[in-house]
């Protein structure tokens, strides 16, 4: 199966989805799906949005749905698991964090040719921060001031979730006061690099050895998103309406997320963090809301870990193309992103 193409015709997919949802709504009559659209976001799971209308005993009901399907050639390969994503969303439902309400997880490949989850379609937009229009959107929102505060508050909410009470410890809990979390992340991205089939990269080896030799201890464990930035957040009326992209979450060091926010990887040429938040405002608001002091040394470490992660992403992506598992040329293009990421890492390591 190839990214960007349907193995099942779009009309048939829509009918199969309709049939599936009908089976999940006892007593539903006349179920119809409208506004079905496949949205072109991310390089991982296929995402479809649609509205369903049905009646039960004469009562009309309407619900917007979002369906994510694993195409079998996702960038994260076996590191991403829709079953885990569904369980995370279930755990988050009773918490204060804005996240889509999960409805169903379907592991049976027979329904849509691959596993999928169905969740609530949350109102809002998700402007692409890499495009001209998206950058203009975030710049204007930064000027109004509401969204930057909501961005920071939402991260603070995420980091102060009582993750044990929410049941999120199924993700695995590294030992506090040790470097288990950082070393676990290094091992995780090593696995993706190994799976990519990419040839040896001496700079990457140096980076990995450095990361293993300098892994910081994590004193305070939090629920961590793993990719908290504009582009992974739905926005409605200048406020975060939902945190999306639950693929990299873990229990670990909150500085892992903070480092991602502080990284200039996510703010092409802008002084604003994630193209949105003034740095000082982020520090003050985040520290006040969480009681967690931002550890700049740990953040510098995690930024190097993100360089390793980026290299792993691009190796995986170009590997999927090279293996013939995808014919999306965007993936082929990423072969030249690997040296760019490594060049940056080398500079950060001092050469």
């Amino acid at each position: 199966m190839s990214a960007g193409r349907e193995a099942i015709a779009p009309d048939e997919i829509a009918e199969r989805i309709r049939h599936y949802i009908e089976g999940k709504l006892p007593g539903a009559q006349g179920l119809q799906l409208h506004n079905m659209e496949r949205i072109a976001v991310g390089w991982s799971h296929e995402t479809r949005l649609f509205d369903a209308h049905w009646s039960v005993a004469g009562e009309q009901s309407t619900q917007g749905f979002c369906l994510r399907r694993d195409p079998g050639n996702a960038l994260l390969r076996e590191l991403s698991d829709l079953g885990d994503q569904f369980r995370v969303l279930q755990c988050l439902e009773p918490t204060a964090l804005q996240a889509p309400k999960p409805f169903w997880y379907e592991a049976d490949h027979g329904v849509l040719g691959a596993p999928f989850i169905v969740m609530e379609k949350v109102p809002g937009t998700c402007p692409n921060p890499w495009g001209r229009e998206g950058r203009a959107y975030y710049e204007a929102a930064a000027g109004r001031g509401v969204l930057p505060a909501s961005f920071t508050d939402t991260l603070a909410t995420l980091h102060t979730i009582d993750w044990r009470r929410a049941g999120l410890d199924f993700l695995g809990v590294p030992a506090a006061g040790t470097s288990e979390f950082a070393l676990g992340e290094v091992r995780k991205w090593r696995r993706l690099i190994a799976a990519s089939g990419h040839g040896p990269e001496p700079v990457l080896t140096d980076l990995i050895c450095w990361l293993e030799a300098n892994a910081p201890k994590t004193e305070r464990l939090c629920f961590v998103h793993g990719a908290y930035r504009t582009g992974n957040l739905l926005i409605e009326d200048d406020r975060i309406s939902a945190v999306l992209d639950w693929e990299l979450q873990t229990i670990g060091d909150p500085m892992y997320d903070v480092a991602y926010v502080l990284s200039d990887l996510n703010r092409e040429g802008s002084e604003l963090l994630s193209n949105l938040v003034p740095r000082d405002d982020f520090y003050c608001r985040y520290e006040a809301a969480t009681g967690i002091e931002i550890d700049e040394a740990a953040c510098r470490y995690y930024q190097l870990l993100y360089a390793m992660r980026s290299a792993a992403f691009w190796m995986s992506a170009s590997g999927l193309y090279a293996e013939g598992r995808s014919d999306d040329v965007r993936l082929a293009r990423t072969a030249w992103s690997v040296p760019v990421v490594l060049e940056r890492a080398a500079r950060d390591l001092g050469y």
Binding site: T205, E212, A346
Partner: protein
């Protein structure tokens, strides 16, 4: 016409004629990205001989300098073995040498470790600079 010129021309066709003629978003993006890939391939191909020769010289110099540095100390056996494998195993050998250095850091002592790693990094920087000529 050289192969790299041919790829450059194909890239220009994809960018200037094929891409703009496609309305649907996904295939249009594929056309423009194909132009980018062809341009990068063309540049990589054009520089391949020059870069290959420079890389050979840089690796020779690296081995000479490392040999000198290793002669000045009692390096642990895994480091010396990894050095001997450098000549034959290309990037794989260099990765193994770097891993051996980090593994033997304590035995080497900080001064010797830094001296060896800095010399390896000097060569890796040169390689990166060459790759950036077509990758950036």
């Amino acid at each position: 016409m050289t192969p790299s010129d041919l790829l450059e021309r194909m890239a220009a066709t994809f960018k200037g004629e094929v891409g703009p003629a496609i309305e649907a978003e996904y295939p249009r993006t594929q056309a423009f990205l194909s132009a980018v890939v062809l341009q990068k391939l063309a540049a990589q191909l054009r520089l391949a001989a020059e870069h290959g020769a420079a890389e050979d010289l840089a690796r020779d110099a690296l081995r000479r300098d490392l040999e000198q540095l290793l002669r000045e100390t009692e390096a642990p056996l895994p480091v010396r073995d990894a050095f001997l494998a450098l000549a034959e195993n290309g990037d794989d050998g260099l990765c193994q040498f770097i891993e051996a250095l980090y593994a033997a850091r304590e035995e080497l002592g900080e001064t010797q470790f830094e001296a060896l790693l800095s010399r390896v990094r000097q060569t890796m920087r040169q390689t990166l600079n060459r790759r950036m000529e077509y990758a950036a």
